[in-house]
């Protein structure tokens, strides 16, 4: 059974605040990903990591940053949130060539 956790599930925050979205997996997966999804729209890859201390930007430009200090942890940070960051953020992980396992997502609203 896949175990990948995202917190918080929902977040409403004011403009200019710094936020960190947490993502952890207990499966020892080497690859982790962050996707952004607006309601009713497709996923966009914003960051990915193929291992510890390895991070890359995805297909969609994002003002967020990520870190991968531990295998199981892949947090995403926005230094100064803006209303344009309002979206759903999905974390996923996989091991080598195995299929992705998704977290339940964080729905972010910036007011």
């Amino acid at each position: 059974e896949a175990d990948i956790y995202q917190t918080p599930r929902y977040l409403v925050i004011g403009t200019g605040k710094k936020i960190t979205l947490e993502c952890s997996q207990t499966m020892g997966h080497d690859k982790m990903y962050w996707y952004q999804q607006d309601p009713g729209m497709e996923l966009h890859l914003i960051h990915y990591s193929y291992g510890v201390n390895s991070t890359e930007k995805g297909d969609l430009s994002s003002e967020s940053t990520v870190s991968r200090i531990r295998t199981e942890h892949f947090p995403l940070t926005l230094e100064s949130a803006r209303p344009s960051h309002t979206s759903q953020y999905l974390c996923a992980s996989s091991y080598r060539v195995s299929p992705l396992h998704f977290g339940n997502g964080t729905r972010l609203t910036v007011t």
Partner: protein
């Protein structure tokens, strides 16, 4: 609650065979439907999407899908598969909340 069902968990085909992967959704509102592909070791990529209009949607790499509202289906098709189509295929219906199917592993034998 909305759900997306993919009934084929693993499909094995020979090259040049035709492909059809089933996807059924249960959602009563505006339906946006997607097929994604994940090649071994890579992230998800969008194959095709349906928002409205022509129910037959053409995507990349020769894939197409047909939205049949009466059957709540959005099956993925390709007339002739190639070895390079070996991948995991996900149907998704992201409306208010992302909903993915469980995926179908396609293996194409050379």
């Amino acid at each position: 609650a909305q759900s997306v069902s993919q009934h084929n968990h693993h499909v094995i085909l020979s090259e040049a065979a035709s492909l059809e992967l089933g996807c059924n959704y249960s959602y009563g509102g505006t339906v946006n439907l997607f097929w994604y592909v994940q090649y071994p070791g890579q992230h998800l990529q969008l194959l095709l999407k349906y928002f409205s209009g022509d129910p037959l949607v053409k995507g990349i790499k020769g894939f197409e899908a047909e939205f049949i509202k009466s059957k709540f289906s959005f099956n993925l098709r390709k007339p002739s598969v190639q070895w390079s189509d070996t991948a995991e295929y996900f149907c998704a219906a992201p409306a208010r909340q992302l909903t993915f199917g469980s995926g179908t592993q396609l293996t194409v034998l050379p």
